[in-house]
Amino acid sequence: MKVTAIAVNTFREGIRDRILYLPFFFALMAVVFSRVLAVLAVGDRVKIIKDVGLASISLFGMLIAVLIGTGLVYKEIDKKTIYTLLAKPIERWQFLLGKFLGLVLTLFVLTAAMALAFLAVILVHTSRVDGRLVLAVVFIFLELVLITAVAMLFSCFSTPILSSVFTLSFYIIGHFSWGLQTLIEKAPPGPARVALRVLYSILPDLENFNYKTDAVYGLKVLPQYYAFSALYGLAYTLFVLALAGLIFKKRDFV
């Protein structure tokens, strides 16, 4: 109940925060105008619409996740609204979890709205919606949930600007860390390979959530891949949240 109250309040704040509408509006524009781009480009027009649409949802969704993840928790601390909240009989983890769930709910509504616009454009062009497109959006959403958790973790001890830089770095590293896998295969057995393996285990691999190419080209994906990605997302998000909870638990609100 307490966690729900904080989550609903966070959602209300997120939805009433006008700054969020900027990336949301841009994403909708990009989805709609992908059709114009398709006219100009050479090749399968529908594929281009799908490609640009999914990329827009992913990119602008990430911007929204960073904005709300780094902004809303820090604002509670900076504006000292957290003082009156934590003075009530609520645990710090309840505050953090409520905040996170509220942010996820905000993200869900915004992603769903972007996805609906995207699927409507696809429906107009193909008269049908491929389930793989929906799955691709679901995994984009799971990635955004993880990004939000990471942004929240950084905002527990840092300013919004630094937290944004850290979170964007996490995002970039996460999308290039798969290259380490190739390196591991090429490295000779020994300490170097072990070190690379450890590094790969620690760094996030956000390509696990990337089913955009498969959806655009209609490639078949085995269910266990989807299951692994969902589990990976859940485990990583829980790990990051637990870390945020530990930092938050010890923090003095001066």
């Binding site: 109250a5 309040n9 925060d17 009156t84 009530k88 009989p89 003095d252 609100f253």
Partner: protein
Amino acid sequence: MATVLNIEDLHKTFISGFIPKKRRILKGISFSVTAGEIFGFLGPNGAGKTTTLKCALGLIFPDRGKIEIFGRHHLDARAKRRVGYLPEHPYFYEYLTATEFLDFYGQLFLMDRVERKEKTAALLRQVGLERAVDLPLRKFSRGMLQRVGLAQALINDPALVLLDEPLGGLDPLGRKELRDIIARLKQDGKTVFLCSHILQDIEMICDRVAIVAGGRVVSQGALLDLISEKVLYTEVTLSGLAEEDLIDLGEPVSIRSDRILIKVFQDANVDALLELVRERRGRVHSLVPRTETLEDIFVEMVKQS
């Protein structure tokens, strides 16, 4: 009377900066607040008042010391359930209306919808905000925020209300109204703990005070015990006499046209002065005996520490 808040030997050091630097803020704070009183926690800026309060509320973790609220550990949810808190310079969710804001805080105490609705309406009436129920908090003035802040502190009908500089930044009328509300809290049987550096307000409403300076409590007790009723000196404003005539009787403070303000330190000299005025056919405009004030004690204590 039962002890409501008990703090013993509280220590806190902050470490900050790129090159870590230690700042000892609390150096063994001890005091206790008993049920039904208005307790003033006085001190200059940076003395450790707010840090002590935040330690009691669990916002800051002390390095050492004991804090008990209603005989329980201060972080025990059963103790927290009976506490209300208004921070200094309150700032709340500006996108919420006053009703939404109080409703949200009511949910944190697991109140049902009907109870929250009734409580919210009653509290907004109590703090004089019944006309601003649907106004977003971003449109509230400083005084209105202070009132809605007090309303959120009372949402759970707390037995102990902790107020951090509640009268700071308010205009004289706002201060008077808030003082009246605080006095009513005491009449309703609540215990009020008031952090402030505005001595005039403390003197008007507090039963007992603790003066904190340099991270230590330097004096505490009932206000009436701390302030002696002994006359320190008498201020006399008179006219029709020359300044030279008065030098043996007191210390002239100011002369404006023919009016002289003089401080007279002994009762015998006051009588002599009045006799002199009568002899010279002068005139006494005012005669005010000055007793010790909280400000005198406060300044002395802070200087000593």
